[in-house]
Each structure stands twice: as C-alpha cells, then as structure tokens.
C-alpha cells in the first residue's frame, strides 16, 4: 500500500516543488527523479502479486463529497460565466443526482480502494508514458507565450493529473470513481482552455459538456446499483446477478463511450487538439482517454456474453472503421492522430467488451502499445510545431530535408502502429485469429472482424498518406539546413522509441511461439540493410525523371471527404446506438 500511496502523493509533492523552482535545470532534476521513482514504483507493483484494499475513513469520505460538490458548482459557474446552457444544465442535473445519491447511499460496504492486476497494469501506462510526457513538456513550454508562473502551473498541473489518474484506476467505489472522472473532465477543460483564445475556450466548453454526459450516466448507474443492490462498489455490483445489474453496467459503460470520444462524441477530442501538445499527448491519447477501455475491462465480467457487451463491442468496432475513414478528410496532423486515437479506443473497447480472457488481454496490450506509439507521434508533432511552425500536413511537405530525425520518429511511430513485429500490429493480428476462433459460437462477431480488417487497411492508407507528405519535397524550396532537435525533446522521444522496441520484444517472447519471433526477422533485416550493403558510393547519382518538363514538383495528397448526407447518417446512427446501450441494458 505504501507504494501505491507513493504513486499518488509523489506527483503532488513534486508539482508543489516545481512551483517554487524557477530554474529550468532544477525542474529537470525534480521531474527526472519523479519519473524514475514513479517508474520503479509502477514496475515493482506490476510484478508484485495480490490484491490490495483500503478503506477510506469517514472524514476522507466527507472531504471527497465536499470536493465533489465544489467541483460541480465550479462547472455550473463556468457555464454561467461563458453563458453555456448545456454545461449549466448538465452540471445542475449532476448536482441534484449526486445530492440524492449521497442521501440514500449505504454507509458501509467493501473497501473504496482496491488495487487489482488491472490497476497495476494501468499504473505502468500512466506513470511510464505520462512521466515521459511531463519530461517533454518542460522544453515545450519554454517557447509558449505565457507568464513563467503559468508555465510552471502547467507542468505542475500535468503532474497532479498523474496522481488523479493513479487514483481513478484503483477506485472501487462508483462515487469515488465519479469524483475522479469529473476531475479528469476538469483537467481536460482547464488544459484545453490554457491558451485562452476564442477557439480554445469554445472547444474547452465543448469538452466540458460532452464529458459531463459521462458524469450523468455514471450517477444514473450508481443510482440503479443503490436501488437494486444497496451498493456503490464495483466489486459487489459485478458479483450480483439478475435484476437491474445489466442496466447499471450499461449506464456505466456509456460513460466509457463518452470518455473514449466514440462517435458522436469525437468532437470534444478533436477540439482538444488546440491545447498545447503535451496535453494532447497525455490526456487525449496516452492516459486519460484510456479510462474508456479501462472501464469496459473492469466491467467485462458482467458484459461478457450479454447483449450489452455485444452492442458495445459492435459500437467500438464500427467506430474503429468510421473514425479511420473520417480521418482521411483531415489535414492537421494532430487531428489525424486524434481521429486515429478515437478509432483505436473503439477497437480496444470492442475487444474488452467481448470479454473472453484472450480478447481482454489483447485489449490491455493494445492500450499499452497505443499509449507508447501515440505519445511518440504526438510529441514528434509537437516538435514540428515548435521548431518548424508546421501543424498542417500540407505545410510539412518535404519535412524530411528540414528535420530528418523528427520525420524518422514519426515514420517509426507509423511503422510501430502497422507492421510486424511491433506490439500494436501483433495485437491486431492476434485479435483477428482470436475473433475468428469465436466466430462459430457467436456469428455476430463477423461484424467486429470485418470492421477490424477494413479499419486496419484504412489506417495503413491514413498513416502512409501522411508519410508521403513528410517525405516528398517540393523542389522550389532549396534544401535548407536541417534543424537539430534539442535534447529536451530528443530524450523523451528516444525513451519512447526504446520502450516501443522493448515492449515489442517482450510481447513476442511472451507468446512462446517460434513463428511469431520469426516475424521480427524482416524488420531486423531492413534496419540492418544499410550496414549490410556498404559502398553505395560506387553507383552514380541521377536526378528524378521529369518527362522533359521543367521541374515543378508538388505531390498532391489524397483526401476523402464523406458527403454531408453520409456524415449525418453516421452521427444519427452512432447516436441511436449509444442510446440503444441503455435501452438494451434496461430490457435485459
């Protein structure tokens, strides 16, 4: 338990320290130390066995209630200040519901805090990837037009967010989970609004009201659990059977769909891309949105082979295809990455909701490798934004001559998402065979299988379309000097790449299958090729062929814009599926 407490308290202490340290070198020392200890803590917990539980004292519970009410009042206030009726209405609904629930909530129950193997796995993602992103953010914020105090608040805020995340994955009480869920919503809201211009504010408010829908459904789920089973604990609820249990579970899973920005809620996550890049990397791809698959995994024992689980996995799978397709119409790199995050979260939820042991393990593996690869991609996008002021892939044409190393990191990120032997690819590969094995018993899984296959193909198109922009160079630009990446950016990127490779190796070894190991051979060969074939100097160089035309090379990028009608169908379709989750839950 001490170790868990360290994971929760250390980031908070460090953030207070950071606020008092104006010196950048000192900040780096603090953050490196924190990263080191969090990493060790998370890893030793991961390798440890057993279930840890912890009962909160009465005063602590009261403090949480007070904090929760304050939080909801703050949302209400923000809604009033910015005159946003949806934010106000949802905050008010939550206040009423929350007040009522606290009145009727049973006093005693099992422990509020429970550290199981899933939580330990989440610690690994949160502290490992999250820590690296905090390390990166120091350098990133250096050029941000904001006061020094605000910058330090930003980095400190990211650290505090880590401890919120560490807490949310061990919450066993639905009400505690609700409080922390709202805390992550608050973090989203404040960090998206960080730059405080019109667009940021509008998008922050959008994130706020959409995420509050998640809060409302969690409260409704808790209400059903209290009325039906006199409990607010996840473990008791999951052990109960019959009656309204699936209704409660369905409502809770709907919160996952909201937090995971599944269509029709993907708007808030895309809007979040106006925030500084470390925020996009940390909250909106590597850690916070992982609450979605985490929650489904937590509920999986009840979801497995139920209608609710079936519909959630179908929604997730369809989101995987739809979001990959919608991404093809975008040109801002971070939005493309955002869409692909939405898509992959859908896939993870689909796998988690199938609920077989194998598919749940696959969902977890995808979570880890996705966090690593997407953090790498987002942070690289941040480097391009800072050093080359390029956000749009149209402006990134020929980036390889200007920033070969960053482009290398991005290409590596794409490759790690699509090709053997990297973890995410392996996860998809095993998912295909695992779902195929389930087909005979559950033919409805054919939808999931088909979505997985088509979505993966669309993603290949998406990533390599971006690669084509990075690699092609318009000739009217003289090959300018490449700008070196400063160490503050380089170290986190190298660390992430290193962990992607280590993770892939570990995952391959875990399979105990010689053929899987052999899948890594081609990649090794490709990386070794430049050293195998030396003396490329003996071949003469030539200019590309231009058919006798005067060179005016500007490679066009392909976009696929869905028609308005199709978009409307998509939104209405996914919207009604979302509602259908609750209806199916209520009926079963």
């Amino acid at each position: 338990m001490d170790m868990v407490l360290t994971l929760i308290l250390l980031p908070i202490i460090a953030s207070i320290l950071l606020l008092m340290l104006p010196n950048q070198r000192a900040q780096y020392v603090v953050i490196t130390a924190v990263l080191f200890f969090l990493g060790i803590g998370a890893f030793s917990l991961y390798t440890s066995m057993g279930l840890l539980t912890f009962q909160l004292s009465h005063t602590m519970n009261l403090a949480i209630v007070a904090a929760d009410v304050l939080l909801l009042l703050f949302f209400l206030y923000q809604g009033r200040v910015f005159n946003h009726p949806k934010v106000m209405a949802l905050a008010a609904v939550q206040l009423v519901l929350y007040g009522y629930i606290e009145l009727i909530a049973p006093e005693s129950g099992s422990a509020e805090i429970m550290v199981d193997s899933l939580s330990k796995f989440m610690f690994l993602i949160i502290n490992g990837v999250g820590g690296i992103i905090v390390l990166y953010s120091v350098k990133y914020m250096e050029d941000e037009p904001a006061s020094p105090l605000k910058k330090r608040l930003f980095v400190g805020g990211l650290l505090v967010f880590l401890s919120v995340m560490n807490l949310i994955v061990i919450a066993n009480s639905i009400l505690l989970f609700f409080f922390l869920f709202e805390m992550t919503t608050l973090a989203s809201y404040l960090l998206i609004a960080f730059r405080d211009d019109d667009v940021s504010r509008a998008n922050a408010l959008k994130a706020l009201w959409m995420n509050q829908i998640g809060g409302v459904v969690i409260l409704l789920g808790a209400l059903v659990a209290i009325i039906g089973f006199k409990t607010v604990m996840f473990d008791t609820l999951l052990q109960s059977s019959g009656g309204m249990v699936l209704f409660s579970i369905a409502l809770l899973s709907m919160a996952a769909l909201v937090k995971g920005a599944s269509i029709p809620f993907e708007g808030w996550l895309l809007g979040a891309m106006v925030a500084p890049t470390p925020v996009s990397a940390m909250l909106h791809s590597a850690t916070m949105v992982k609450i979605a698959p985490y929650l489904i995994l937590k509920l999986a024992p009840a979801l497995a082979v139920s209608m609710v689980g079936g519909i959630i996995s179908i929604i997730g799978a369809l989101v995987f295809v739809a979001a990959s397709y919608l991404a093809l119409s975008r040109s801002v790199l971070k939005e493309i990455l955002g869409y692909s995050t939405v898509a992959l979260l859908g896939l993870m939820m689909a796998l988690a909701a199938i609920g077989s042991e194998e598919s749940m393990n696959l969902a977890m593996a995808l979570m880890l490798f996705h966090a690593l690869s997407k953090a790498l991609l987002f942070l690289s996008a941040g480097v391009l934004e800072r050093l080359h002021h390029a956000k749009d892939i149209e402006d990134m044409k020929g980036m390889v001559t200007r920033s070969p190393k960053t482009v290398g990191f991005i290409l590596f990120g794409f490759v790690s998402l699509t090709l053997p032997p990297f973890g995410l690819f392996m996860g998809k590969l095993f998912a295909i065979s695992s779902i195929a094995a389930l087909l005979k018993e559950h033919p409805s899984n054919l939808i999931i299988l088909l979505s997985l296959i088509v979505g993966s193909a669309l993603m290949v198109l998406l990533y390599f379309k971006v690669a084509s922009a990075l690699l092609s160079a318009p000739s009217d630009i003289r090959a300018s000097e490449a700008i070196a990446i400063p160490n503050g950016f380089n170290v986190p990127l190298v660390l992430l790449s290193f962990f992607i490779v280590i993770g892939a190796l570990g995952y391959i070894m875990l399979q105990h299958n010689i053929f899987v190991v052999l899948l890594a051979l081609p990649m090794l060969f490709v990386f070794a090729l430049p050293t195998l074939i030396r003396r490329m100097d003996r071949y003469d160089r030539s200019q590309p062929y231009h058919c006798g035309e005067k060179e005016s090379f500007n490679a066009a990028l392909v976009y696929y814009e869905p028609s308005l009608k199709l978009q409307r169908i998509l939104y209405w379709g996914f919207g009604s599926l979302f509602v259908a989750v609750a209806i199916v839950g209520a009926l079963s």
Partner: protein, 272 residues
C-alpha cells in the same frame, strides 16, 4: 527439398511471367517473346549502368524483394496464413515508402496507387484466410492443405479472391499500379540497372504469392489445386485482353462493394 523450391521461387515466377507473355500474345494472334524472355531481360539489365537517386531509395527495393521472398518462403513452409499476408503487406509498404522518398511526380502517383491497391485487396486476403480457417480449423497453410472441400463451401469467397488477382498481377481491369506505362512506370521509374533487377524479380514473386492462394483452394488434392491455378491463369489473361482499365477509386469501390459482399455473404453462410 522444400528449400530448393524456396530458392527457385523467383525463377519459377519468372517462368510463369514469361509463359503469360506468350499466352497473351497467342490470344492476340501475335508471335510473342520466347518464354525465357524475362531472364534475357535480366541479363540485359545487369549490363546497364546503374544510376540511383539516393541510397535509401535503392536499398528499399532490395528490402522489398527479400521481404517478399520471405513471405513466399513462409507459404512454402506452411506457416500461418495471417503472418504470410502481413509479411506481404510489410514488403508492399517498403516499396510504397521507396516511391514516396524521391521527388518524382510519377513515383508519387505510383505509390499512391500502390497504397490504394493494398487497401483494396488486403481485407479480401484476410477474409480468404478466415474463410479457409473456418472450414479447415487452422490458419496454417500446412494444415489447410491436409483437408479439402473448400471450393464447394467457399465458392463466393473464391470469386472474391479471383477479383483481386488482377490487382496483384497488374492486369486489366485493375492494372492501376503501373497502368501500362501511362504513369511512366509508377514506383519503378527511378530504378535502373541492378536495383531495377530486384523490382523486376519481385514481380515474379508476386505471381507465386497470389497464385498460391488460388492453389490453397484445391486443398489436399494437388491436381485440383494445379487445375485451379491453370484455369485462373487463363481466365485472368482472357479478362485482361477483353476489358478496359478502371480508375483507381473505381477499383476500390468495386472491390469494397462486390468482392467484400461476396466474401461476407459466403462467410455468413458458412457460420449460420
């Protein structure tokens, strides 16, 4: 013995390619080149001066060839069909990256089209693997070849596979990748001499790769497999001579609607 076949795979593919040129010529009532013409071409290429644009571009062609060979070897060794498909995808992506890495319009168009081709046929290949798995109970090629009856149970899936064969062997109506020199060779344009040689041999391997999938539908009966390959070989060339090329976007649309529907319909039929 199997290693000998693996080593000879490019030569085998070369013979198929040469044979195809003869066959197509005869269909058009031409004399056509000798069957060994692809190999004569290769010797000719070796004599040429090699010009490259830059080293990574040239090396990616070499990598493409060897990874493709690896995936063909995996078929001969009876591996998991999914691994084979993804190794092949890997090889294809290396070629696509090579195409993107030079500042040539034609090379870029070629890569864009190669990418679209991958997007079109990849799902069908995986669905074929899943279909064979559902009937035989295994993804392993060696196991699939031990039972049979695929053609009777998976006729529509076989039709879907037939539709993507022209994409892989670059034949009408889906020869979008190079479009008979209309886009000046596409990805291949910036290669010459020994490095072009690797791309040229890759084409031979593609023949072996895609016709292996046809052969799988024969199951345990080698005769049926061989017959299927010969039949499809004839059919593809006949269709090539008789149809016009479609646009790349149309190709994706046709595959995603017709072929995908056929495959899914068949799979659903097997399951229910």
């Amino acid at each position: 013995m199997i290693w000998v076949w693996i080593a000879l795979a490019p030569i085998l593919g070369g013979l198929v390619y040469g044979g195809e040129r003869v066959l197509r010529a005869r269909m058009q009532r031409r004399q056509g080149p000798p069957i060994l013409q692809p190999f004569y071409d290769m010797f000719k290429l070796l004599d040429k001066r090699t010009l490259i644009v830059h080293a990574p571009h040239a090396l990616l062609a070499v990598a493409h060839f060897f990874v493709l060979w690896f995936s063909v070897a995996a078929i001969f060794l009876g591996w998991n069909l999914l691994y084979i498909i993804f190794l092949h995808l890997f090889a294809q992506l290396l070629l696509i990256l090579a195409g993107y890495s030079v500042r040539s319009v034609y090379s870029h168009i070629g890569s864009n089209r190669e990418l679209l081709m991958v997007v079109a046929y990849e799902p069908i290949l995986i669905l074929v693997a899943v279909g064979l798995y559902l009937v035989s109970g295994s993804f392993e090629v060696s196991q699939i070849l031990k039972s049979g009856g695929y053609l009777t149970q998976l006729p529509l899936l076989f039709a879907a596979l037939l539709m993507i064969v022209p994409i892989k062997v670059k034949k009408s109506p889906f020869d979008v990748g190079e479009a008979h020199q209309e886009i000046v060779g596409g990805v291949e344009i910036e290669y010459s001499g020994v490095f072009y040689e690797f791309l040229y041999m890759s084409r031979f391997l593609e023949y072996i790769f895609i016709y292996s999938f046809i052969y799988l539908f024969g199951g345990e009966s080698h005769w049926l497999g061989a017959l299927l390959v010969a039949g499809v070989f004839l059919l593809v060339n006949l269709v090539d001579n008789a149809t016009a090329r479609v646009r790349p976007a149309q190709m994706v649309k046709i595959i995603y609607t017709v072929a995908m529907a056929l495959a899914v319909f068949n799979l659903a039929g097997v399951l229910l």
